[in-house]
Symmetry: C2
Subunit: 197 residues, 2 copies
DNA sequence: ATTATCTATAGATCTATAGATAATGC
DNA sequence: ATTATCTATAGATCTATAGATAATGC
């Protein structure tokens, strides 16, 4: 064999399906049969690609998911105009192009179900991937005098929570699309609700 | 029997345990055995209080949970000073005194597991209980000239998402407590990140 | 030859039901 | 007498393993 690990196309299909399902519904709500059905195979075949079973599958795709977010957020921000507003909008657009992360569910429901060491590592990765890039935007904007706040980490977290909350608004209420709503929320945060002047 | 329905103290204990567990971990992550263990009885005994089983239990306590939030939010807001900032802080304090609602998890994971009619009703109740009271604060503040925004419903949703995102911050990062962080987020939203003057 | 999938099955756990027993309220 | 709990068990579903079969890559 070429690799010790199995990196075939078939494996990718399995991981992609697992990633989407776990992201959407969380660890406990997804069964191995759900994943297998999404791929179009029998659930026993999943063990060929992930001998560690459900937990290995979850830990691996959660890591992938975070890595993808880090790259996607980084690229979105790097590709945007260099002002905070444009960068935050680009970050929000990217977040809304992916299934919701739901960090609260991860902390309260998913993490307690898996090995604590894996959970601890994923928590760090979550911060590095999701919050750090946005925090960096805020820090740079503060240095450039665009914004003025002493706790960019807190704001970054709040911002992500605000954006992701849009996934909870019922489809029939989403008139102009989630992106437009996200931009409006970002404007509100940057400019403030209190009237200027 | 006095009532057709069972409203005893024992039943309250069962519902309280179910409410806390379902709120924390979601429908699929909680088993009837978990609930029974929390109460200190055998799982079969739960059927005496909720003949409809797990789903009946969930639908009932989810409704209770929302009702409690509506009352709690209403009381917190009514008891606060009449300015937006004080009212929003009071609302945030109350939200943080309860387990997280995680509306995203409800929409993506819990609702698809239950009867659609129940899900639809709960979605309406969620809006009335959680968002409407905060939206009302914003509308009144706008009428009083305190704030200026054309979409109070959107802001209310974003605000709740922002506050609840604090449940995802690891305990060792919570230095001054979640309430202080929530107040800081509310200040940021009211005043804006961009420097005034 | 290696990789991917399948069938079959074990064993654990979950929801749910039936009927017996204990606790409580007149 | 009524209410609350228990034991025992059925039946479904879930994770996981073993070993056979099919597909693919030199």
């Amino acid at each position: 064999m070429r690799n010790r690990v199995d990196n075939s196309e078939a494996r990718e299909r399995v991981l992609d399906a697992a990633e989407r399902l776990f992201a959407e519904k969380g660890y406990a709500s997804v069964t191995l049969r759900d994943i297998a059905a999404a791929v179009g195979i029998r659930h026993a075949s999943l063990y060929h690609h992930a001998p560690g079973g459900k937990e290995e599958l979850f830990v691996e795709v959660a890591g992938r998911n975070f890595a993808r977010h880090r790259e996607g957020l980084g690229a979105a921000i790097a590709g945007a105009a260099p002002d905070v507003r444009a960068r935050l909008r680009a970050a929000a657009d990217w977040l809304l192009s992916q299934p919701p992360m739901d960090l609260v569910r991860m902390v309260y429901s998913d993490m307690p179900s898996i090995d604590p060491a894996h959970a601890a590592r994923l928590s760090r990765v979550a911060y590095d991937s999701l919050l750090a890039p946005i925090e960096a935007v805020l820090i740079e904007a503060r240095e450039g005098g665009e914004i003025d706040h002493r706790n960019p980490g807190l704001i970054a977290g709040g911002l992500v929570g605000m954006i992701e909350s849009l996934y909870a608004v019922p489809q029939h209420v989403v008139t102009r699309g989630r992106q437009a709503m996200a931009h409006e929320l970002i404007d509100a945060l940057l400019d403030g609700l209190r009237p200027r002047k």
